[in-house]
């Protein structure tokens, strides 16, 4: 049970040392969850920004706080959720008891949540309002299959679910650095309308600045997305099609809901025999 007096929430993000758009979605979701008053305390921490994951060890010093739920704001399980976060936060498993008796509970990353599919569809509709779905190709952009990263697996899972719904003329996975490449979108699709939704946590990942260039809507990576007009110029008329380019899925306000649900899922799950979700090295 989440308690508004004894439970705290820690949202863990990647952050960036170069891009100002990386951490804001985390801060926005945290502010929204704080506003709802579900937890006694809500904090963010970042791998590349402040407060750091190490700093987070100091943030929940009120003796009233009996438990801290950790939700990785990441698209998938991978190097960060399995290696970096447990190590930096000194977690020994899904449940870690500190010397003070405070218990830290490690929830699943947001990208694993079943609502993700619905959010991707919602985002696709919002970016291309009134455009018939049966004349539209939907492209979900992922990073690619990094050795330690399951984000491509997660992106494939979402594409399969959306494709199975039969709503869009075409639904495809594309990647930034491996085939099928986002840069080849015009060859990969036939529909007159093309909607591109990045399956990323923020608009601020360094590589994210390259997507508009790969799509052919910008000549070179320039300022951060927040400092450009790139989203306001939809649709782009290119290769005889209308191209609609969306913000990263993680900027969606309903992510706040998903973060809370990942905590609830953890709280419910502890009542059942525990399956090991995270290998802690």
């Amino acid at each position: 049970m989440i308690s508004e007096t004894h439970s705290a929430l820690l949202i863990v993000g990647h952050g960036s040392t170069v891009n100002p758009d990386s951490s804001p979605p985390n801060l926005v979701h945290a502010a929204e969850i704080r506003r709802r008053g579900v937890f006694a305390q809500v904090e963010c921490c970042f791998w590349k920004e402040e407060p750091s994951l190490r700093d987070a060890l100091l943030l929940f010093d009120s003796p009233a706080l009996r438990e801290v739920y950790i939700v990785p704001n990441f698209i998938s399980e991978g190097y960060f959720t399995k290696t970096v976060i447990p190590r930096e936060l000194e977690l020994t498993g899904r449940v870690t008891e500190r010397i003070t008796g405070q218990v830290w509970k490690y929830c699943e990353p947001v990208g694993n949540h079943p609502l993700m599919t619905e959010l991707l569809l919602q985002r696709a509709r919002e970016v291309a309002p009134g455009v018939p779905e049966n004349e539209t190709a939907l492209l979900i952009v992922g990073h690619g299959t990094d050795l330690n990263d399951n984000s491509a697996v997660a992106a494939k899972r979402e594409v399969e679910k959306i494709r199975a719904s039969g709503r869009y003329a075409e639904v495809l996975n594309v990647y930034m650095e491996e085939a099928p490449l986002v840069a080849a979108w015009a060859q990969l699709t036939r529909a007159p309308h093309v909607v591109v939704v990045p399956f990323f946590i923020s608009d601020g990942l360094h590589s994210y600045q390259d997507i508009p260039v790969l799509l052919g809507i910008e000549a070179e990576p320039t300022a951060a997305a927040s400092q450009r007009e790139v989203f306001r110029q939809n649709p782009y008329q290119l290769h005889g099609r209308s191209l609609y380019y969306s913000h990263a899925i993680g900027t969606e306000p309903r992510f706040a809901e998903i973060i809370v649900e990942q905590v609830e899922a953890f709280a419910c799950d502890t009542a059942r025999p525990r399956k090991i979700l995270h290998e802690v090295p």
Binding site: K48, S52, D55, L59
Partner: protein, 213 residues
């Protein structure tokens, strides 16, 4: 920290890093850049959340990856309703610094030697453990220095034997009583209990640029 005594906010003006905290009308609080305290023409802001944007870019509009770097932008005035708001704003300006200070004051702050931080790294940062003593000594002096680098007071040591982080830094860099902005005023120290990720990343650059023997 609802209801907790804010002992750090007793002395007014309270100075934290480059920020001055003064009392305003009707129980309100006013935050400014310490350089701007006497300035009349300041852009007004209110509410703790405004601190997020104020802390994000420097005067030239560049992103500030290190919030304790001495490049806080000028020209603003932040009005806050109560002490709790002041604390929240400071958590945006200088994330986790109040919590670190509280822990240090309580005698509970654990510091981590640089070597331990580097040896813990994995992936692309694993190589940082190879940084030599000379390189680390120089890097920390350049990267963490208060004039142009970072305003934190370093509490960690270079290794478990207690070697100074850098012999090239002045002794004040390790003294929480010292005002790291160089103004010589009483200020709440921004404490560094463990090397930040930026220093780890900079260590990687140093190691990578070392020619293989």
């Amino acid at each position: 920290m609802n209801g907790r005594a804010r002992e750090w906010l007793r002395e007014i003006p309270c100075r934290v890093g480059e920020i001055a905290i003064d009392r305003g009308d009707a129980g309100r609080w006013i935050l400014t850049h310490r350089d701007d305290r006497a300035r009349a023409e300041l852009h007004p802001h209110d509410g703790a959340e405004a601190a997020v944007e104020l802390a994000r870019y420097d005067d030239a509009g560049n992103f500030r990856p290190l919030k304790t770097a001495p490049n806080l932008r000028h020209g603003w005035r932040l009005v806050l309703a109560d002490e709790q708001e002041v604390e929240r704003a400071l958590d945006f300006f200088y994330p986790a610094r109040l919590a670190t200070w509280r822990s240090w004051r309580a005698g509970e702050l654990r510091t981590t030697p640089l070597r331990e931080t580097l040896e813990r790294q994995s992936g692309m940062y694993r190589v940082t453990a190879k940084i030599t003593e000379t390189q680390a000594n120089e890097l920390v002096a350049n990267f963490c220095r208060s004039d142009g680098g970072c305003l934190r007071t370093i509490l960690w040591r270079r290794d478990a034997t207690g070697t100074l982080p850098s012999t090239l830094l002045p002794a004040e860099k390790f003294d929480p009583q010292h005002d790291q902005t160089g103004r010589g005023e009483a200020a709440l120290p921004l404490l560094c209990q463990e090397a930040c990720n930026l220093l780890v990343a900079a260590s990687r650059e140093v190691v990578k640029s070392t020619p293989a023997l």
